[in-house]
């Protein structure tokens, strides 16, 4: 039961590879990706009807210890600045105790 930062990124699916690389580099322990998300922003409407053009959005959620926040933000910000997309932070509490399942 310790506090974590919840980072939420919404951006074009074309950027996903870069965003994931950025998160990996910044050392966040994990993330979850919801694909085929659509939306609207002052820059326009995003639909998924031309999926081969990678024009739909992805919604990426990452939880990490608060001390990683700065690194993670710095890894993501330039990507969003260049290619578009939004990022928000909020607070959450992790409740799962360490998983006791064997793994290689």
């Amino acid at each position: 039961m310790h506090p974590v930062t919840r980072m939420e990124i919404i951006a074009s699916s074309a950027e996903l590879e870069k965003i994931v690389a950025g998160l990996d580099q910044s050392g966040v322990p994990g993330y979850t990706i919801i694909r085929n998300v659509v939306g609207k922003s002052p820059h326009g409407k995003v639909t998924d009807d031309l999926v081969m053009s990678m024009l739909d959005n992805v919604h990426v959620i990452a939880f990490f210890p608060p001390e990683l926040t700065k690194t993670a933000v710095e890894a993501i910000r330039p990507i969003l600045n260049k290619f578009g997309g939004v990022c928000y932070l909020s607070d959450a509490t992790e409740i799962r105790s360490l998983r006791c399942v064997a793994s290689l």
């Binding site: 950027e15 085929n36 009807d49 031309l50 999926v51 081969m52 024009l55 578009g84």
Partner: protein
């Protein structure tokens, strides 16, 4: 111009279903074909057209006619974006000009496929290597577009393209990859493969194309309101430039002695604009350009124009001169 030609094109299920899709949007019906159904259709169409082209290429072999046609194809896909760029620069900034130029330099596989089914209905044939031309013309415009951005944009310093990434986007994007792959496999397996695959790739082709054009009608109509942003210049552009490209294409086709069927397909390749591969590439490589401009013109104007008016028009001209 022979109106029966237009009618015989318009009064076919694929084109009528395209209209039906547009009508659904205008009438505010809730008809939609959710992803990934359209993706399935487009994978199927690329697979089927590529495979068929390959099988036929294996039969005909690689002659000078083939090489000549493919050279012409590459030539056009390099030249079109360049002169198109300078036309666009009259009104637009370099980013949008380059992105739109790349769009019109590349091709639309569905327009090609619709033209091929137009030929089929008229009982005309075309050569398998036209599919190779289709594949070859998809990518060069992407690279040309980027070079145009690079050379014309002031702040060149902070633009370091990752060229390997650009080439990958251009040559390995899913539609080019699947098309070329199916073509090569068609060549390798020839008649034997055809015997087993044709009930799937041949018999269902027309039906899948029809359903896909229904979806394209929906998609195109949804973009029509984006055209307001595009303005009169771009809308005029997206009808006149395809006609110009088609005319140049026809001249070249005549010059290198293509058959009627091949000439129509070549001309359609020149006239069509990409709304799949190029937008996907531009989204990442020229993020400054506004996607709604290059997509809406290619999809909501040029695509319907070509499949409804363009194909019979170009064919009419071919009939005059061939």
């Amino acid at each position: 111009m022979d109106t029966s030609l237009v009618l015989s094109n318009v009064l076919t299920p694929p084109i009528l279903f395209f209209f039906l899709g547009m009508l659904a949007v205008f009438a505010k019906s809730d008809l939609e074909i959710p992803q990934p159904i359209p993706k399935l259709f487009s994978l199927y169409l690329l697979f089927a057209i590529g495979f068929k082209g390959g099988v036929e290429l294996a039969k005909s072999g690689v002659s000078t006619a083939v090489l000549l046609t493919l050279s012409a194809a590459i030539f056009m896909s390099i030249v079109v974006p360049i002169y198109t760029f300078f036309i666009l620069r009259l009104k637009l900034d370099p980013y949008n000009s380059a992105a739109i130029a790349a769009t019109y330099g590349s091709i639309s596989a569905v327009t090609f496929i619709t033209a091929s089914s137009f030929l089929q209905e008229l009982g005309l044939t075309y050569d398998g290597y036209m599919v190779a031309a289709l594949a070859l013309m998809e990518s060069p415009a992407i690279v040309i577009g980027l070079i145009l951005v690079k050379t014309s944009s002031a702040k060149t310093s902070d633009r370091e393209f990752s060229w390997p990434e650009v080439i990958r986007e251009a040559c390995l994007n899913s539609s080019v990859f699947l098309l070329v792959g199916s073509l090569v496999i068609g060549m390798l397996t020839g008649e034997h493969g055809w015997k087993f695959l044709s009930p799937f790739t041949q018999d269902m082709f027309y039906g899948v194309l029809t359903l896909f054009l229904l979806d394209m009608g929906l998609v195109a109509a949804r973009r029509i309101k984006d055209l307001q942003k595009a303005g009169v210049f771009l809308i005029t552009f997206s009808i006149l430039v395809p006609i110009l490209n088609a005319a140049i294409g026809l001249a070249i086709a005549k010059l290198i002695g293509l058959s009627e069927g091949d000439a129509l397909l070549f001309c359609v390749l020149c006239a069509s604009a990409s709304y799949i591969a190029v937008p996907a590439a531009m989204r990442l490589t020229v993020p400054e350009a506004n996607p709604s401009l290059y997509i809406s013109t290619a999809l909501a104007v040029t695509f319907p124009f070509n499949i409804i008016v363009g194909i019979p028009l170009y064919f009419y001209v071919i009939r005059l001169f061939w």
